[in-house]
């Protein structure tokens, strides 16, 4: 049986662990709030962008000459998979579920005879995927979102994608990330980035609202194709940025839940150890008393 000193040391160490996990929980909670605010603030841009793209795509119809970012290359051979994870661990199953999803996705594509290229954003994804997929992993970006997530970080990734796409290095790009549903629930999301799936809007949403109630059609300046060519890379950046915000909020939520659990487990452990400690202490006292009494009797 462990000695009293050993038990005391263990209780203290678990107490220290509990202090750390409960502090991490607080930090995650405040970061989560900030991340949610940021995600909230970024929403208007994405919404309006979507509305504009919808009207543009509708105006353009299926006319030829649509930018390749929208219409695709007409092939489906080379897939680029972008996996968005966090840089740090201690957030429960957050990264594990993305990595698992990514692995399943890539294996499915490989089994279908496609060529797959892998881009990881975030250190955890890189570390966990490089074992199996090192030969197809061509780039890993980490250190995102420090000290806070900026739009440029999304834009940089988008620029990289657009350049590669223009150079014909892949046909389809997919982004795998965790969507933030609530502070404790994240949803694994597989989103196609290129070619961009056009949001389907109702005819009412597509035309400009007018006071007369008669829907009017937008004029374009310069023409549709040029605006679309301008808008699509920008939209890609918005999509990536949005995913980053969602993922960041999800990470903090997951960490908060994980740390809450850890704090609770540490508390249970301390109770159990204290009980054992007290029992042992009493046993020691009893034993010492018996020793004294039997010693006195022997004299």
């Amino acid at each position: 049986m462990a000695s009293l000193k050993d038990l005391r040391v263990r209780i203290n160490s678990v107490k220290n662990t509990r202090k750390i996990t409960s502090a991490m929980k607080m930090v995650a909670a405040s970061k989560l709030r900030r991340a949610q605010e940021q995600a909230e603030a970024a929403r208007p841009y994405a919404e309006r962008m979507e509305r504009m793209l919808g009207s543009l795509a509708a105006a353009l119809g299926s006319a030829t000459g649509a930018p390749a970012l929208l219409s695709g290359t007409g092939k489906d051979d080379v897939h680029l998979v972008v996996v968005l994870t966090s840089d740090r661990g201690l957030c429960g199953g957050f990264n594990g579920s993305i990595v698992r999803g990514a692995r399943a996705h890539i294996r499915k594509l490989l089994a279908a005879g496609k060529t797959v290229k892998l881009l990881t954003l975030g250190r955890k994804g890189r570390d966990q995927l490089k074992g199996e997929f090192a030969p197809i992993m061509f780039k890993a970006v980490d250190g995102l979102g420090k000290p806070r997530l900026r739009f440029e970080e999304g834009a940089d990734v988008a620029r990289l994608l657009v350049d590669m796409y223009a150079a014909g290095e892949f046909d389809v790009a997919t982004l795998i990330y965790n969507r933030f549903k609530s502070a404790i629930v994240q949803e694994l999301t597989v989103q196609q980035l290129i070619p961009f799936p056009v949001p389907t809007l109702s005819a009412e949403q597509l035309s400009a609202p007018t006071s007369a109630g008669v829907p009017a059609v937008y004029e374009f300046e310069p023409d549709e194709t040029e605006i679309l060519a301008e808008l699509l890379p920008r939209n890609l950046a918005v999509q990536v940025f949005r995913a980053m915000l969602e993922s960041f909020a999800g990470e903090q939520g997951a960490r908060m839940a994980a740390m809450d659990n850890a704090t609770r487990n540490a508390g249970d452990m301390i109770n159990k150890l204290t009980l054992i400690y007290n029992r042992t202490r009493q046993a020691v006292i009893t034993r010492e008393m018996i020793e004294i009494v039997s010693g006195a009797e022997a004299v």
Binding site: A42, Y45, M52, A208, T210, E219, F220, E221
Partner: protein, 140 residues
Amino acid sequence: MADSKVTFELVAPERLLVSADVDMVVVPGTEGDFGVLPGHAPLIAAVRAGVIDIYEGGLESKSITQRIFVAGGVAEVTETRCTVLAEQAAPVGDLKAADAQARLEAARSRVTEAGADEIARDRALKDVAIAEAMLAAIAA
């Protein structure tokens, strides 16, 4: 009169910068500046780097109340609304000539660096244009 106002919104990817009912907005389009008054025909236009002027103070006696620099973007105009999606935006008063000058020089050196790489060159040229527009906005 609520009808004679334009709801102007300036949105950056990170947040909504301006949302106000104003009398007129002048937006620097790629094909030339255009003013938006209430009842403007629906329009979607590309925006170049330049200054957006916001006019307020009644239809007759309106004057510029805010000048905001944008580094390009897209504008959507309807009868009652004018929305500008801008990548970067800042009130002209907050711009610093030294920063803009530094940016211009950095962009110019990148143009020379880019050499034959057309994509990089285009991008650098675009940055030069933005920095030049910024300087012009400060000087005006």
